[in-house]
C-alpha cells in the first residue's frame, strides 16, 4: 500500500457508510473551514463527517418508480403483436430493456437498505391510476385500467397512435416523480438514488422527444 509522505488534506480514518435514517445525529468535523462569499478558503479536514444516507423520500421514490416502470412494461409487452411500424417496435424495445434493468436496480437498492420489495405485478395494481387499493393514489402519467384495455384491444395504426400517446404521458409522469424527489428535503442525497433518478430523467426525456417525432409519422431516410 502506498504511503504518501506529504500532508493529507483529508484524514480518511474509517468511512462510515451512512445508510438508513436521515435523522441520525451528525457529527460535523470541527475543522471544516468557513468559506466566504466568494467561495474561497483553504479546505480542511472533511473526511470524518458521516455521509447523508437514504431517507423516506428516496424509499418512496424507488418503490413508486418500480410500479411506474411496471406499467410501461405492460405497454411494451403489447407491441410485438400489435404495432404496425418498425420504428415503434424499436422504440418499445429500448424502453423495455431500460426499464426492466432499472426495476432490478431499484429492487437491489431497496433490499440493500433493508426495505421490503413487492413483486412487480403487485405494483401494477397499486399504481394504476384510478384503480388499486384504497389509500394508494395513482402515480403521475399512469394509464387507467380503461386506457390499458383500449390499448390492448387495438392493433395497427390505431395501436401505434395510442401507444405513443400513452407512453409519452407515462414518461412525463416519470419526470414529475424525479422532480418531486429532488424537491423534497434530503431527497436524492444518496448518490445511488440521485444517479438512478438522473438516468431516468435523461433517458426518458430523450425518449419523449423521439416519440413526439414519431407522432409526426415515420422519419425520412437519414442523411447519407
Amino acid at each position: 500500500m502506498q504511503r504518501s509522505s506529504v500532508r493529507m488534506l483529508a484524514l480518511a480514518g474509517t468511512i462510515v457508510a451512512a445508510v438508513g435514517c436521515g435523522g441520525a445525529a451528525r457529527q460535523a468535523s470541527a475543522e471544516v473551514a468557513r468559506i466566504d462569499a466568494t467561495g474561497s478558503a483553504a479546505v480542511a479536514d472533511t473526511g470524518r463527517a458521516p455521509r447523508p444516507g437514504a431517507n423516506e423520500a428516496d424509499v418512496r421514490f424507488m418503490r413508486g418508480m418500480i410500479g411506474h416502470h411496471a406499467q410501461a412494461l405492460e405497454m411494451t409487452d403489447l407491441v410485438p403483436t400489435r404495432a404496425a411500424r418498425a420504428d415503434i417496435r424499436l422504440m418499445a424495445e429500448r424502453i423495455a430493456v431500460s426499464q426492466h434493468d432499472e426495476i432490478a436496480a431499484m429492487e437491489r437498492w431497496l433490499r440493500s437498505r433493508g426495505e421490503a420489495v413487492e413483486s412487480a405485478d403487485a405494483h401494477q395494481h397499486h399504481g394504476a391510476a384510478g384503480g388499486g387499493h384504497a389509500g394508494m393514489p395513482g402515480m403521475p402519467g399512469m394509464a387507467t385500467p380503461d386506457e390499458m384495455a383500449r390499448l390492448a384491444a387495438s392493433t395497427g395504426a390505431e395501436f401505434d397512435r395510442l401507444f405513443l400517446e400513452l407512453m409519452i404521458r407515462h414518461h412525463e409522469g416519470a419526470l414529475v416523480m424525479v422532480a418531486a424527489l429532488l424537491a423534497s428535503p434530503g431527497g436524492g442525497q444518496d448518490a445511488e438514488v440521485y444517479q438512478l433518478a438522473s438516468d431516468v430523467e435523461a433517458d426518458q426525456r430523450a425518449e419523449i422527444a423521439r416519440m413526439q417525432r414519431l407522432q409526426n409519422g415515420p422519419a425520412p431516410a437519414p442523411r447519407r
Binding site: M8, L9, A17, S29, A49, P50, D203, Q212, R223
Partner: protein, 591 residues
C-alpha cells in the same frame, strides 16, 4: 452499419425480452464459436483479484483508491466512484464523486499518490489549466465548504452545484478560490482556451440536472416557456487567470435555438399534444461537449441529438448542425478525429450504471456511432461496440476516451466501464476495428456493483485508465499485426504539457524517421505499396539515416520524389503522399 465486427452470442431467454430478442438469436448463432474464443468472456470476479484478459497492451501498473475516497464497507458505493482525468506535466488529476486525487506519474510504472482532497459532490469531473484545477458538481449533497454531511433543505445557501476552482500552485495544499454556482449544477465542463485571449480561459458548463429554486440561486427559472428559462442552454464561465476569484458566468447561449424563429426550444419538432405535454418534452440539456478550438468547432451530445457548434467566439457558441440516430441511440459525448473530418458519438445508454453489453443487447445501442464531417454537415457512416459480451453483473456501455497519436490513422482508446478498455481504429468510419483491449471480470460475482473504466486517455506515451472501483490503471501499447512498433514509437513523439480530454488539440508529428517508417508499415499492411517498393523504401531510409548534412538531404529528397511517383498506381494514394511528405520533412531537417 458494420455488423461484421459485432459478434453476439445467441440470445438467452429472458422472459419478455425474448419476444424482442428472438429475431437476434438466428442472426447471432454462427458467431457463437468466435464468441467463445474471446478471453473477455467468463472472467472471474473480484475487486483487486478479478480475472483479466489483455491483448496488444501491457498493464504497466495499477493503484487502488486511497483512504477517504472509497468505502471499505461497500466497494460499489456510488458516493466514491472515481471519475474523470486531467493531466499537467508529471501530475495526473483523478476526479472522484467525493473529491480528487493527484498522482505523480514521473514513472508510469510506479505512480505515487501526491495528494488528495475529500470534497463531496459528484461527478467530480476535473480539468486543469496552469495553476488552476476545475471540478464539476451537480449532486444535491455538494456543499460550498466541502463538507460531507450533505444539504437537507431543498433551498439552502450551504449547497453548492456548479464549478469549483482550486488554486493548486501548491499541489499539497489546494485552495478553493471560487465556487461558481449554476442553475442546474455541472454534470461535466469543458475548458475552452481562446487562442486570441491569453488573459482568460472559458469553461462551458453542461447541466443536466434539476433546475434550482430561485430561493436558492437567484434568477434560476425552471419553466420551459419562460424566456429566462435555465433549460435549453449551456453556461459559459469566464475565468480571469490573474484573478480566478472573479470567475463568473458571462453568457448562457441557447444552443438549441431554432435558426429561423429564434425560439429557444428549436430542436423540438413535436406538435401540440394536449395540455401539459409540451412542458417536459424538449431537448433541453447537453451532456459532454468536446471542443477543438483550432478548428473552431465543438461537438456535443444534447438530449440524445448529436450537435455541432461553431465556437470561434468562445463566449457565444452557435449550433451549425444536428443529427438523430435512426436506430434510436441517444448520444452523450463526442470525439473528433485529428483532421476534424470524422466525429465519433457515444450512446451512454443507462448512464453507465447498467449492464448494456450483454449478448442480448443490440449492437447499435450503448455503442459508438461514427459520422463524417464535411462542409459542417454530419453524415452517418458506421457503428462500433466491443465485440465481447459482458455479464449482467457488469455495468457496461460506451464512455470516454481520447485519440492515440498514430500518424495517418484515427485510433481511440475508449473506456467501456466494466467492459474494460478497447482500442478502436476508425480511420475508415464505416469499418471501425478493435486492435487492442483490456478487461477484468466483474467487481462482484453475484451482484451488479459499480466498477470499470470511466475514462481511458493517452498521455505522453501511456494510456491511463480511471477505474471506478479499482483506482488507477496504466497501460502501454504492444505491437501486433494491427499496430507496428514504428507506429507506437511515432505516437510517443507527440508530447504535451497538459491534457484535458474534452479539449482536443491538433496532433502534429515532428520530422522523424520513425514517422516515415510508420507510414511504410501502414502501406505494407494495407497493400498501398507493392512488397518490392516497401523493401526498397525501407532500405533507402536506412541508408539515408546514416548520412548527414547535404548528402542526407539529397538522398531524402530523391526518395520523396520516387515515392510521389508511387502514388499514381497506389490504392492508397493519400497515404503514399503522407509518406513522401514525412520524408520531405526529414530532408528539410537534415543537418
Amino acid at each position: 452499419m458494420n455488423s461484421e465486427s459485432i459478434v453476439r452470442r445467441p440470445a438467452a431467454s429472458l422472459g419478455r425480452l425474448a419476444l424482442f430478442a428472438a429475431g437476434l438469436a438466428a442472426a447471432a448463432a454462427p458467431a457463437a464459436a468466435q464468441q467463445q474464443a474471446d478471453p473477455r468472456v467468463g472472467l472471474r470476479a473480484g475487486l483487486h483479484d478479478a480475472g483479466q484478459a489483455i491483448r496488444n497492451l501491457e498493464l504497466v501498473s495499477t493503484r487502488p483508491r486511497p483512504e477517504g475516497l472509497f468505502d471499505p464497507a461497500d466497494v460499489g458505493n456510488f458516493g466514491f466512484m472515481n471519475s474523470d482525468l486531467a493531466f499537467r506535466g508529471n501530475y495526473l488529476f483523478q476526479g472522484n464523486f467525493s473529491g480528487w486525487q493527484v498522482w505523480d506519474i514521473s514513472n508510469p510504472a510506479a505512480p505515487t499518490l501526491r495528494s488528495k482532497l475529500v470534497c463531496p459532490g459528484g461527478q467530480g469531473d476535473v480539468s486543469v489549466h496552469g495553476n488552476l484545477l476545475f471540478m464539476s458538481v451537480e449532486m444535491p449533497n455538494g456543499r460550498v465548504d466541502c463538507g460531507g454531511q450533505g444539504v437537507e433543505a431543498p433551498a439552502s445557501p450551504e449547497r453548492f452545484r456548479g464549478v469549483r476552482i482550486f488554486d493548486i500552485s501548491n499541489v499539497d495544499a489546494p485552495r478553493q478560490v471560487a465556487a461558481v454556482q449554476t442553475c442546474r449544477g455541472s454534470h461535466t465542463h469543458t475548458l475552452v482556451p481562446d487562442p486570441k485571449d491569453n488573459a482568460n480561459v472559458y469553461v462551458y458548463v453542461s447541466g443536466t440536472s434539476s433546475v434550482r429554486s430561485p430561493d436558492e440561486l437567484a434568477g434560476c427559472v425552471g419553466a420551459p416557456e419562460d424566456p429566462n428559462t435555465a433549460l435549453f442552454r449551456i453556461e459559459v464561465i469566464r475565468v480571469p487567470l490573474a484573478a480566478p476569484q472573479e470567475a463568473r458566468i458571462v453568457s448562457s447561449p441557447r444552443v438549441f435555438a431554432d435558426r429561423q424563429t429564434g425560439a429557444a426550444a428549436g430542436l423540438w419538432r413535436g406538435g401540440n399534444h394536449g395540455e401539459g405535454t409540451q412542458s417536459t418534452a424538449q431537448t433541453n440539456m447537453c451532456h459532454d461537449l468536446t471542443v477543438y478550438p483550432e478548428l473552431g468547432l465543438a461537438a456535443g451530445a444534447c438530449s440524445g441529438n448529436g450537435i455541432l457548434l461553431d465556437i470561434r467566439d468562445p463566449a457565444n457558441p452557435v449550433r451549425v448542425d444536428e443529427v438523430l440516430d435512426p436506430n434510436f441511440a441517444y448520444w452523450h459525448s463526442a470525439t473528433f478525429n485529428n483532421a476534424g473530418t470524422t466525429i465519433l458519438f457515444t450512446d451512454e445508454w443507462g448512464g453507465g450504471t447498467q449492464p448494456r453489453c450483454r449478448a442480448t443487447d443490440k449492437a447499435e445501442w450503448g455503442a459508438d456511432a461514427i459520422f463524417t464531417l464535411s462542409n459542417r454537415k454530419l453524415t452517418h457512416a458506421g457503428y462500433f461496440k466491443i465485440p465481447a459480451a459482458q455479464s449482467a453483473q457488469e455495468n457496461c456501455v460506451a464512455h470516454n476516451g481520447s485519440l492515440i497519436p498514430v500518424p495517418g490513422r484515427d485510433i481511440m482508446a475508449q473506456a467501456w466501464y466494466q467492459g474494460g478498455l478497447s482500442v478502436v481504429d476508425f480511420t475508415d468510419p464505416a469499418k471501425p476495428m478493435e486492435i487492442a483491449f483490456f478487461d477484468r471480470g466483474p467487481v462482484d460475482a453475484a451482484a451488479m456493483k459499480m466498477g470499470g473504466q470511466w475514462g481511458t486517455y493517452w498521455y505522453n506515451g501511456y494510456i491511463y485508465g480511471s477505474e471506478i472501483a479499482r483506482g488507477l490503471d496504466v497501460f502501454a501499447l504492444k505491437p501486433s499485426a494491427y499496430l507496428s512498433q514504428n507506429e507506437i514509437d511515432a505516437a510517443r513523439l507527440v508530447r504535451t504539457d497538459v491534457a484535458n480530454p474534452q479539449v482536443q488539440t491538433k496532433m502534429v508529428w515532428p520530422a522523424a524517421f520513425v514517422v516515415a517508417r510508420a507510414y511504410v508499415d501502414q502501406l505494407e499492411r494495407g497493400q498501398g505499396l507493392a512488397a518490392g517498393r516497401v523493401s526498397a523504401v525501407r532500405s533507402e531510409l536506412q541508408r539515408a539515416e546514416r548520412l548527414s548534412g547535404a548528402q542526407q538531404r539529397t538522398a531524402l529528397t530523391q526518395l520523396a520524389t520516387a515515392i510521389d511517383r508511387d502514388a499514381a498506381s497506389s490504392r492508397d494514394a493519400a497515404r503514399v503522399r503522407m509518406l513522401s511528405a514525412a520524408v520531405r520533412d526529414l530532408a528539410g531537417a537534415a543537418r
